[in-house]
């Protein structure tokens, strides 16, 4: 039995459709209830629906064998897992965004508001730029408008939210998409099952 951790929400729905299309369906998942664990013994899969930011934690601790998680979460944490496949779903970019009229002042440390503290730190270390991090948990776009920060580091999908808040992409840090990850021990002991699933996914993604 393969235990698969999926992120709850839009990305999770897309990923489930992909898995179902290659023979790992579990129709119960569509039932309108509050269950978080769904099992299809015939297909040998058990889906666990968890908070997107927790998928990698479940995998690293072996509570699930494989899972799907955004690259942003993997980069932000430091998880001892295997990253097996880029599913090319949920594509977006990790960006530095700033007010439309922003001009960078190199005389002083840059004030950066973000919930991706490690990604922001690592990015500016690579540029040898001194920064002051302001950790926020949501509505990051408001920080430069209120003068709380000079720029923000956040995920940009269509850019519409930025636009509506008079912000623009200032620099692109990295592309983000959903990744198939596996627990290292599960990969050793359920290798045939995981490899079979991976091959099927690769074929489907190549179509």
């Amino acid at each position: 039995m393969l235990n698969i951790a999926l992120p709850k929400g839009r990305l999770g729905d897309k990923v489930y459709e992909l898995f179902a299309s290659v023979g790992y369906d579990c129709s119960e998942i569509y039932s309108d209830n509050r269950k978080l664990v769904f099992e299809n013994k015939e297909n040998g899969v058990r889906y666990l629906l968890v908070k997107p930011s927790d998928v990698a934690i479940y995998i690293a601790h072996g509570a699930a064998d494989i899972g799907v998680v955004g690259k942003d979460i993997l980069e932000e944490g430091n998880f001892d897992i295997y990253e097996l496949l880029d599913l090319n779903l949920g594509k977006c970019n990790m960006c530095v965004a700033a007010p439309n009229d922003y001009v960078e002042d190199f005389d002083r440390p840059l004030r950066v508001a973000t919930k991706f503290v490690n990604i922001a730190k690592n990015y500016y270390i690579s540029l040898n730029r001194e920064i002051e991090i302001i950790k926020l948990n949501g509505s990051i776009e408001i920080a430069p408008i209120l003068g709380l920060s000079d720029v923000i580091v956040d995920i940009v999908e269509s850019g519409k939210t930025l636009q509506e808040n008079n912000l623009r992409v200032y620099e692109k840090i990295m592309p983000i998409s959903a990744r198939l990850i596996a627990n290292k021990s599960s990969y050793k002991f359920k290798n045939d099952d995981i490899d079979t699933l991976m091959e099927k996914l690769k074929k489907e993604l190549a179509k």
Binding site: D80, Y82, E83, D86, K184, Y187, K188, F189
Partner: protein, 371 residues
Amino acid sequence: MNEFLSTLSKEDRLNYELSMLYKQWGYKEYRMAKFEEYSFYSDNRDFLSSSGILAFNNSDGRLMALKPDITLSIVKNAKLTDALTKLYYNESVFRMTESSNDFKEIRQTGVEVLGKIDSYLVSEVLMLAAKSLRTIDEKYVLCVSHMSFIPSLLAEMKISENAKKEIISCIRGKNSHDLKAICDRCGVDEEKTELLIRLSGINGRLSSTLAELSALASNDEMKTACKELGFLDEALAGTDIAEKLYIDLSVLNNTEYYNGIIFQGYVEKAPKAVLSGGRYDKLAAKLRESTQAIGFAVYLDNLNLYYRKEREYDSDILILFDSDSSSVSLLSTVESFVSKGFSVRVEHNAPEGYKAKTVYSFENGALREVK
């Protein structure tokens, strides 16, 4: 003896059984102090698997560290002779945990061999590593790698050290998609990129994968490594551990310290590697002149979590008594049960959730079974 072992926790039982195993193979126990000068560990910080070192000042003002690693200390301090130095240890190390960024005491056991290391010794240490894993769980896998494959290929590439670090991180994570993107970005030629991806993706039993590995060996270092792995395969063929040995070149250690065969062990119920080791001539040469070395460590700290012992009863007998009972008579009753091999707990009231095979109440100098 088995009855005695069954009363121990998984960690304690393993400590005992692994010590016996290493003794049987002629290894001597090595005991050491819990701390050592801080500067020794800070000079060799790259060798440590965790960045934090727990330091304190001793009475004469010297900065000391609670040992974050055992191998370093053994290589520096063990008495070397013309013969091989074969040691095992059972010690605590103090490391920063990734999950809580806090220090934790971790129990570790393992073996180290110092001296002139040949192919026999490599197979003996691999054999002991496999037997150690089997002592933890019959379902185990020992992943073998060699430091001459990926590092020698990376050395041929004219790319920055940062790019190499990124590539190594991808290889450790079996992440071929980002690996390809980094190679493309750095202008690595397609042939080398493809070879890196194929090497890091190799995953199969040692015996059945050697031919594929030999076909991919593109330089002299890789060819020599294939020969070493061939010796190992030959030495262990026919033993019951042969089918548990897998080639996995995504196992990569620090190139400044390690060379030759390296390995990691997994057991079914633990989510991460519980054993790690390999040949570390480079570290040995740094600390002791013309010494070679190989060894491994078994991490016992979380095994109690993954191998929980489900006990049916807390004790064989629970005796409930009131303060008016005769102490002399009660004590002799308990003593009589214990001398017959029963475990007994005596209480005024039954502890919450306590399970005993038989519960007695002790009244007027006599036992009455409580249903």
